[in-house]
């Protein structure tokens, strides 16, 4: 079984400040990792994904995340946030292949990012 923990339920930050949203996961097998963003009254939109290769992945809207296998983390960062980044962010893991969890995403509880002017 796999699980995802987002360490902060809410993160307030001022506009143009940097932000980090933390995500830790546990799994007995290799995983793929994702960050999704959800704006109010909308579905989830993919921000970025880690499948293999470089541990630093870049996504849309200036976000990036770093996969750290030894710490089982996949933290999301942005060097300078905008008001429009206010949303809920979800970290998710997917078992890479095989087993009973194949194809099923496991989500964290979500982090609400609020950007203040």
């Amino acid at each position: 079984a796999q699980s995802v923990t987002q360490l902060d339920s809410q993160v307030p930050v001022f506009e143009e400040a940097p932000v980090e949203l933390r995500c830790n996961y546990s799994s007995s097998v290799s995983v793929y990792l994702f960050w999704y963003v959800q704006y109010p009254n909308q579905g989830l939109q993919l921000l970025l994904k880690y499948l293999s290769g470089s541990t630093l992945v870049k996504g849309i809207n200036g976000f990036e995340a770093e996969f750290n296998k030894s710490q089982t983390s996949f933290h999301l960062r942005k060097p300078s946030v905008h008001i429009s980044d206010t949303a809920e962010y979800f970290c998710a893991v997917l078992q890479a292949a095989g087993g009973t969890s194949y194809g099923k995403l496991t989500f964290g509880q979500g982090t609400i990012l609020t950007v203040h002017p």
Partner: protein, 111 residues
């Protein structure tokens, strides 16, 4: 290209009523999923399907049923609505490249 379309967007049901949440995708994706989202709980998988005619239970399947007669459609059925099923329901689909595409959700209240 509409992506994943969910209907209705909002619905209020009485306890014990039944209804079907519709989900259609036009991307020819094999995999489809139903999630429910409750505040502070993230998304929980209800059912999923790896192709037409094949479905399987997720984490929270009790009180729900699904069918997958075509690649495009994956309806979710509530037979006897209960207050605990008040939630926002999301349908998603994907191909082998792992990223799931989500619909805009159905907000369901059971009173």
């Amino acid at each position: 290209n509409a992506g994943v379309t969910q209907t209705p967007k909002f619905r209020i049901l009485k306890i014990g009523q039944s209804m079907t949440l519709q989900c259609t995708q036009d991307m020819n994706h094999n995999y489809m999923y139903w999630y429910r989202q409750d505040p502070g709980m993230g998304l929980k998988l209800i059912y999923y399907s790896v192709g037409a005619g094949i479905t399987d239970k997720g984490e929270v399947p009790n009180g729900y049923n699904v069918s997958r007669s075509t690649t495009e459609d994956f309806p979710l059925r509530l037979e006897l609505a209960a207050p605990s099923q008040t939630s926002v329901y999301f349908c998603a689909s994907r191909v082998e490249r792992w990223a799931q595409h989500f619909g805009d959700g159905t907000r369901l209240s059971i009173l």
